[in-house]
């Protein structure tokens, strides 16, 4: 439902005056309305600098929206900048509090409060305040840039009849701008939300006017005429001057002009979502004797609204300085829209007493609207933003360049953008658009974002087709995750993140992205979500193609893993890591990555997780194509194996060790590696492993052989023998070698046996 405004302004008339009560009801100090005449500027001075406006009637509910922009912040005392004036009960004032984090808050005689982090303000940025004060329910609701603040309650019933704004109640300099004020007395209108006010000045006469002869004239005495001397040009000053200047329409004497009138059209608006319209008149007379004239606004329904006097009940214009009247126009039957605004006509004249001459000095409309795409709020460049709630992906792409300024964009705009993003079919959206979305999210301050926003972000990620998303984009997204306050959304966040990671094609993911993933895991509080987080982490690692994932990914995992309390997540510890390791395609993994995995294993406290360490380690070794593994790595493997408590995993270990050794081309290994291999063999209690023992010759002999290396014309073989009769302590190693003659393909051979204990 469109709101029902009782007042709106952005001071586009440009005048500070209390005369006639049309603009303000009180003025204290020297507030100004500088060019381009769409905000009120107040520099704090002793006694205050502010204006107030009183509405036609008091009401228990006052709903409002305005923008506040701080040119300079107070550094010592708090300063009021907007107040909801009470007709009965207590007024409530919004303050800027300089101590601490520069928060907006509020005060009346019964309560004092400050907003949350979204109410933290700085200079050079516009903040939208929405509020609803209910003097019957005794509640105060408010938002800063669309972010709801904690509701406040008070104890004294109240009614409200207006506002004041500016800078007061402080001791040092504060310079503040107030703009785009809209007020309603309907509780359901809260929050009014994003909106702006624009002034529409006269742009033409309407050819229905009947200015008469020697009746309605310009100041030089020339009759107003649609054909030759249109009246609008005398009423369109920008800003209005505050004097009864020569630039006017005058009704002279009373020469039967009671039906004479000049009809004024206003500049058209291109805005389509209109909240309300207010009409304002500036007038005077040649002298102070009473006279009678009229000025009305006629809408598309031919409804006549009195601005100051009407053709039936005329009003006294006898002021020798400029006076002002204003009126909120009623909503047409079809509601406010662009056509309704553009159909408004001002009609003035209808005077029955033109002695002294009546002066109509200026007239204009102020229109409160919801800005459409591409339309910016008023003067502050840093905070210009569009606020169309939903638009097509194509439009979004067109908008994307402006998203870079989101860091300084009020929360409302960010919320709207989030809505927008949620509506975009990202799968069909070009990479550029997704990059823009990423830029957007990257600028969000997530720690201070409510859970709902985080959920929105997650929803977004779920719909993204990351495979086709540039790496930089993913890096941006991933940079967000560490900042999430998962504790506030435990159910959603870890699962969504896990889902997200599962969708990643990590093969095409650069190092920075994976580093971000690692950082995310490090930030998880696993104790509060043990099962999900670790499962998610394992899922992630399962999908990694480590071939393109350099060492840091495993190192990062190691670091993260080190923070895991394995005792509290036994499922993960024993099974998932093994699954993880088993799933790694080490064959295509560079040595560096494999080293990282081994580092993980070596760093484990094996005694606290024997089952995992041994089985996982063995699975790993089983899958390693050691033939292509550098010697350094193999050395590490052997070191790890040496640490295994093989006695506790009898079935697996010997078999795997045998497989391992079978695959080692020891001929390419330096002596130390071979020694290590032998140390392993010594450690195996083969007798306790029937599966392995069965493959060995009964009573001794060669039971294990590592073969072989073919390099060019050379072939080398090592056979090792354990004397089981000696309890495995006697070892025979036999080296067999051949070199093939290239021409006749005949071999030269040698055979050497070493024996020791």
């Amino acid at each position: 439902m469109p709101p029902t405004l009782v007042y709106n302004t952005t001071f586009s008339h440009g005048v500070i005056s209390s005369s006639g009560s049309g603009l303000f009801n009180s003025i204290v100090g020297s507030p100004t309305i500088p060019s381009p005449y769409n905000y009120l500027r107040a520099t704090y001075a002793v006694g205050g600098t502010y204006v107030s406006k009183t509405l036609l009637s008091a009401n228990a509910v006052l709903v409002g929206r305005f923008n506040v922009y701080f040119e300079a912040l107070a550094t010592g005392d708090s300063h009021g900048f907007f107040q909801m004036n009470a007709a009965t009960g207590n007024s409530l004032t919004l303050f800027f509090y300089p101590d601490g984090p520069n928060l907006i808050g509020g005060y009346n005689t019964e309560l004092s409060f400050r907003g949350d982090s979204y109410a933290q303000v700085t200079t050079g940025q516009k903040y939208r305040i929405d509020f609803k004060i209910d003097g019957t329910g005794k509640t105060f609701d408010w938002q800063v840039d669309g972010h709801a603040q904690t509701q406040k309650t008070f104890t004294t019933a109240a009614t409200y009849n207006g506002f004041m704004c500016g800078a007061w109640s402080g001791g040092d300099s504060q310079i503040v701008r107030i703009s785009d004020i809209a007020l309603s007395q309907t509780a359901g209108d809260y929050p009014l939300g994003a909106g702006a006010v624009v002034g529409l000045r006269p742009s033409d006469d309407v050819n229905t006017e009947a200015p008469g002869t020697n009746s309605l004239e310009s100041a030089d005495g020339t009759d107003i005429s649609y054909a030759s001397n249109k009246g609008y040009q005398y009423l369109d000053e920008n800003p209005w001057t505050s004097e009864a200047a020569l630039d006017r329409i005058q009704g002279i004497l009373n020469t039967g002009g009671d039906s004479d009138h000049v009809d004024i059209a206003f500049a058209d608006t291109a805005e389509t979502t209109i909240n309300g319209v207010r009409a304002i008149l500036q007038y005077a007379s040649a002298s102070t004797s009473a006279n009678l004239g009229a000025c009305v606004i006629v809408d598309e329904d031919a409804t006549i609204t009195t601005l100051w006097g009407n053709p039936t009940t005329r009003a006294d214009y006898s002021e020798t300085s400029a006076f002002y009247k204003s009126v909120q126009l009623p909503t047409p039957a079809g509601g406010w829209d662009m056509a309704a605004v553009n159909a408004l006509v001002g009609k003035l004249g209808y005077y029955t007493d033109g002695n002294p001459d009546i002066y109509w000095l200026a007239i204009m409309l102020e229109v409160d609207y919801v800005p459409a795409t591409g339309t910016t709020y008023n003067e502050a460049p840093a905070s210009s933003f569009s606020s169309t709630p939903v638009c097509s992906p194509g439009t979004f792409v067109a908008m994307s360049p402006s998203l870079a300024a989101f860091a300084s964009t009020p929360a409302l705009a960010r919320a709207v953008a989030a809505d927008l993003v949620g509506s975009v079919a990202m799968a069909s959206t070009p990479a550029l658009a997704r990059a823009a979305v990423a830029d957007f999210y990257n600028t969000l301050t997530w720690p201070s974002t409510p859970a709902a926003s985080a959920i929105g972000g997650m929803d977004l990620y779920n719909v993204l087709t990351f495979a086709s998303t540039p790496a930089a984009t993913m890096a941006y997204f991933l940079g967000i995750f560490p900042a999430l306050t998962l504790a506030s959304s435990p159910a959603l966040s870890p699962s969504a993140v896990a889902t997200f990671y599962n969708s990643l094609t990590v093969a095409s993911t650069p190092a920075a992205v994976m580093a971000a993933i690692g950082n995310f895991y490090k930030s998880l509080s696993l104790a509060s979500s043990p099962a999900l987080s670790v499962v998610g982490g394992s899922d992630y690692y399962n999908t990694l193609t480590v071939a393109s994932g350099p060492a840091f990914s495993t190192v990062t995992f190691k670091t993260a893993d080190g923070s895991i309390s394995l005792a509290s997540s036994p499922t993960f510890t024993a099974a998932n890591l093994a699954t993880l390791l088993a799933a790694i395609s080490l064959a295509s993994t560079p040595a560096l990555a494999r080293t990282g995995n081994l580092d993980i294993l070596v760093s484990r406290t094996m005694s606290s997780s024997p089952a995992l360490s041994t089985s996982g380690g063995m699975d790993l070794y089983n899958s390693i194509l050691l033939a292509s593994t550098p010697s350094l790595l193999r050395s590490a493997i052997l070191t790890a194996v040496g640490n295994l408590s093989l006695a506790s995993s009898p079935a697996l270990v010997p078999t795997s060790q045998a497989s391992l050794l079978a695959n080692i081309s020891l001929l390419s290994q330096p002596g130390i590696s071979r020694t290590a291999a032998l140390d392993i063999l010594l450690a195996i209690t083969v007798l306790s492993n029937p599966a392995f023992a069965a493959s060995a010759p009964a009573g001794g002999g060669i039971f294990y052989k590592t073969v072989q290396e073919n390099i060019g014309f050379r072939e080398r073989t090592l056979e090792s023998e354990v004397d089981l009769a000696a309890g495995g302590k006697e070892i025979i190693m036999r080296w067999i070698g051949r070199i093939w003659n290239e021409r006749d393909k005949t071999p030269t051979t040698w055979d050497r046996t070493d024996k020791g204990a």
Binding site: S18, S19, S26, I27, G29, G47, G48, S289
Partner: protein
């Protein structure tokens, strides 16, 4: 413009207690509210004040006026007047243009 208004003997406006360089209001209700919030009171004029401030004063339509004294926390007495014409009800004040306009005195009784 009102006649014989503002009175020559009236204290300067705005009241020094307010610490500001300018205070104007659109009507008597707003004026009284602002001043009451600042600790002012109001009282009937003395005979001497009636003579000095109000007896010869007329609104811009030539109507006679009734006066009231607005008393600052420091005891300084500021005159304000409302014309007696029931349809005009202009308020005469101490800041330019020294009157608030037709019907600005409506809806208020001392």
């Amino acid at each position: 413009m009102p006649t014989n208004w503002p009175p020559a003997g009236a204290p300067s406006w705005p009241p020094s207690e307010l610490g500001t360089t300018w205070l104007s209001c659109s009507d008597i209700r707003t004026l009284v509210r602002v001043l009451l919030d600042a600790g002012f009171t109001h009282t009937a004029p003395t005979s001497a004040e009636n003579t000095a401030y109000f007896s010869s004063a007329r609104c811009d339509h030539g109507h006679t006026v009734v006066g009231r004294m607005l008393v600052s926390p420091g005891g300084i007495r500021y005159p304000v007047a409302i014309c007696t014409n029931s349809t005009h009800r202009d308020v005469l004040v101490l800041w330019p243009p020294y009157y608030c306009g037709a019907r600005s005195g409506e809806g208020w009784t001392w």
